[in-house]
């Protein structure tokens, strides 16, 4: 390849397939837009192919066949992008860790699953590790960050969100006690074992409140809805947002559970 050709290739913008995840798609689109903004600001071209769910609920309920069907659907939908980015550690974990596992030994699909896994990233990991982007945002106040389990333990995401938050002007990060302990969401667990889940989230909201932070952030909407729902029920005045909203400078919009204006 000639020098010009190399330059031309490197100049070609990165095409990112945004896998919004079903929760963001249905419940809180602004996380999807925040994600898109962060990627576009960093020079990526963002596309949103037709999509449903990564299949994790089926996978964790023991329905491997449905999980495989949905995985295949996602592999097809996202095959053509340079990268695939998800604003969720747990759905990214499903694609990166479990898709290859679901097709282990399948001559056609295992390589395709691995190829997708190799170019798939959770949002903060992608911004921090791949793009080395430092979003320029402002946020007045203190936040505390909850490490969602799958992102933390399947993908090792711990430093990246903190690194990004450190660059947000006006923001102070105060760590809660045991930020890496489960919030009790666990997908269908929180409905099937409602009382146990409640006990776990009670401990979490106590730690959140004790941190004194005005805002709770995390990278997974499921956990955020669980913690926000509990904070509201307990009357604890902590606002709850996805980290992408803060990084994208969208903190003036309603927080999770607040009425739309």
């Amino acid at each position: 390849m000639s020098e010009q050709a190399t330059a031309a290739v490197t100049k070609k913008p990165i095409r990112v397939g945004l896998f919004a995840t079903c929760l963001v798609d249905l419940m809180r689109p602004r996380i999807g837009f925040a994600t898109a903004k962060l990627l576009e600001d960093a020079g990526c071209v963002v596309e949103v192919p037709a999509q449903t769910c990564c299949g994790q609920p089926a996978f964790n309920s023991g329905d491997r066949e449905t999980a495989r069907d949905l995985a295949a659907q996602a592999i097809e939908a996202f095959a053509s992008y340079d990268y695939v980015v998800l604003p969720s550690g747990s759905c990214a974990g499903q694609v990166i860790v479990h898709y290859p596992e679901l097709f282990a030994g399948n001559a056609v699909w295992e390589p395709r699953a691995k190829a997708l896994a190799a170019k798939t990233f959770e949002l903060t990991a992608f911004l921090s590790d791949v793009l080395k982007a430092m979003p320029a945002a402002r946020f007045e106040g203190s936040v505390t960050y909850h490490d969602s389990c799958s992102g933390l333990r399947e993908l090792g995401i711990k430093a990246q969100p903190r690194k990004l938050l450190a660059k947000v002007e006006g923001l102070t990060l105060v760590e809660m006690k045991d930020p890496d302990v489960c919030c009790g969401f666990g997908g269908t667990f929180c409905v099937k074992y409602a009382d146990v889940s409640n006990k776990i989230v009670e401990k979490k909201t106590a730690s959140i409140a004790a941190s004194g932070a005005g805002t709770l952030l995390a990278g997974d909407l499921g956990c955020l809805m669980n913690m926000a729902g509990k904070l509201f029920r307990e009357g604890k005045p902590v606002r709850v947002r996805h980290i992408a909203e803060v990084l994208a400078g969208m903190s003036d919009e309603p927080a999770i559970g607040e009425p739309e204006r």
Binding site: A20, V24, D25, L26, M27, R28, P29, R30, G32, F33, A36, V48, A50, Q51, T52, G55, A58, N60, S61, G62, D63, R64, T66, D69, L70, Q73, C149, S150, L152, R153, V181, C182, G184, G186, G187, F189, C190, V191, K192, Y193, A194, D195, V196, S197, N198, K199, I200, V201, K203, M225, A228, G229, K230, F232, R233, P254, I256, G257, P259, E260
Partner: protein, 474 residues
């Protein structure tokens, strides 16, 4: 299976546990200590993670050659003057032990801590036949007085407070003067020590479990901090070891590797106070030690686990770290799991040993947070194994119809993106109307959620709809 299984009632058990203020107090106290002590011990040993890898590989090697290591072990027990008994199930194990006790005219047996004897329900069995088992581990002794089962692998009385222990001692130790002060743990310990000393000295038979069995020498290994298991086996006429078959390790070097991991992970110490290697009975010239040495090797379903989806569970060395780090265990304690083994290891092992029909609730009662796998000293992928059970349940249609039905409908839409987009766009609009204040306080199909928390309402239109609009406006 002698020990009754109460696992299908997990949710009811959990509710009871959540309402038990004594238990909640005990759980809150224990949670921090275990986690912090393990962390400190592990940080002091730079090779800890490399040791875990080597222990995992070693266990895999052992399990792949289990028949041959067991044969070598048996040969060496016999060569050193001991006896080996094979028990396919709990009943056989109990019967073998009863026969030895009856032959020796035993009235009482002293017991070191053994989860396998919990699995076989040995105490109840012996008691029903006129032989008094006396638990000598302080925690086990406490729960024996209370008529309970252990709620934790290494801290069987984790769920009991010191006030409850005082009341139990006053009830059971009838010659205890009422004015004796038992307010402090130290005075409770002194009382137990004095009570149990006589029992050690008078028991005809001593029964212990085994943390490891060494094929090379035919030795059994126990670890204790109290010295109770060691006294149990030294003072009695006969020492009976009850162990499951997967505890065998090839050599003394291999035992050392596991011992370097066990106490650090379990209680945060480099080693337990006492690690005792027993090989055969009293020898010529020995002034003490048991006159007979027996090993009862229990299968009870383990050989079925080999070569299959749950073989990795047989790597477990019973340290308790998985439960010490489990948010579900912290919430409900060990008894809610309804059988012998609690926490994540119990959630995988119980269905393996009692069947998924009875044990199937347990692998479902997990958030899959993965902290158990993160701390497991032999790197058992506990969430993956729990998921394997859920798959087994799904294949066999064992889940509740509502769960299956709900999942089926959702899958039907999720597999059809166009239909999904239309249906969800409509549903979210409806839900948004209901939750105009930003959140819902009750939702008919998700009462499990709204019983305890508000449900944040959806924004309104879906991301995919809005994104299309954005694209169109550009």
């Amino acid at each position: 299976m002698t020990q009754a299984v109460n696992s299908p009632q997990f949710n009811q058990n959990a509710r009871k546990a959540l309402d038990d203020s004594y238990l909640q107090k005990a759980l809150a106290r224990s949670e921090k200590g275990f986690i912090e002590r393990r962390k400190a011990a592990v940080e002091k040993l730079p090779e800890y993670d490399a040791l875990r890898d080597s222990a995992r590989d070693l266990k895999d090697h052992i399990l792949a050659h289990l028949d041959l290591y067991l044969e070598a072990y048996e040969k060496n027990v016999i060569a050193s003057g001991g006896h080996v008994h094979w028990a396919a199930n709990a009943e056989e194990a109990n019967e073998i032990i009863l026969n030895i006790c009856q032959r020796l005219n035993a009235k009482s047996v002293a017991k070191g801590k053994s989860m396998i004897s919990e699995e076989t329900g040995l105490n109840t069995y012996l008691e029903a036949r006129g032989i008094k088992p006396i638990e000598t581990d302080l925690g086990e002794y406490i729960i024996q007085l209370r008529g309970e089962t252990p709620s934790h692998l290494i801290a069987p009385a984790l769920h009991v407070t010191k006030e409850q222990i005082e009341a139990d001692f006053r009830r059971a130790h009838t010659d205890l003067p009422p004015e004796r002060n038992l307010d402090e743990p130290t005075s409770l310990l002194a009382e137990a020590r004095a009570m149990l000393r006589d029992k050690f000295l008078s028991a005809e038979v001593g029964i212990t479990g085994a943390n490891f069995l060494i094929a090379e020498t035919g030795s059994s290994v126990i670890v204790t901090n109290e010295g109770n298991g060691d006294l149990t086996q030294t003072l009695a006429k006969a020492h009976i070891v009850i162990s499951s078959i997967e505890k065998v390790v090839p050599t003394r070097e291999d035992a050392a590797t596991f011992l370097r991991l066990l106490a650090r992970t379990a209680s945060g110490t480099d080693l337990s106070v006492y690690t005792t290697f027993s090989t055969g009975a009293r020898r010529e010239g020995d002034p003490d030690g048991p006159l007979e040495y027996h090993v009862v090797l229990l299968d009870n379903g383990r050989s079925n686990m080999l070569g299959g989806k749950f073989q990795e569970m047989l790597r477990c060395i019973r340290c308790g770290a998985c439960m010490n780090h489990c948010p579900v265990f912290h919430a409900v304690g060990g008894h809610a799991y309804g059988w012998v083994y609690p926490g994540p290891m119990g959630a995988v092992l119980t269905p393996s040993l009692v069947g998924v029909e009875k044990g199937g609730q347990l692998p479902n009662a997990s958030t899959f947070c993965g902290r158990c796998e993160e701390v497991c000293p032999v790197r058992i992928p506990l969430p993956k194994l729990m998921r394997n059970w859920r798959e087994r349940e799904f294949e066999r249609h064992l889940q509740p119809a509502s769960v299956r039905y709900g999942l089926g409908i959702w899958a039907m839409f999720a597999k059809r993106p166009v239909l999904y987009r239309r249906a969800t766009a409509l549903a979210m609009k409806l839900l948004r109307l209901l939750g105009g204040k930003g959140r819902l306080r009750s939702l008919p199909l998700a009462s499990g959620w709204t019983r305890h928390r508000d449900f944040p309402a959806p924004q309104g239109e879906t991301f995919q709809t809005l994104w299309k609009k954005r694209d169109a406006s550009r």
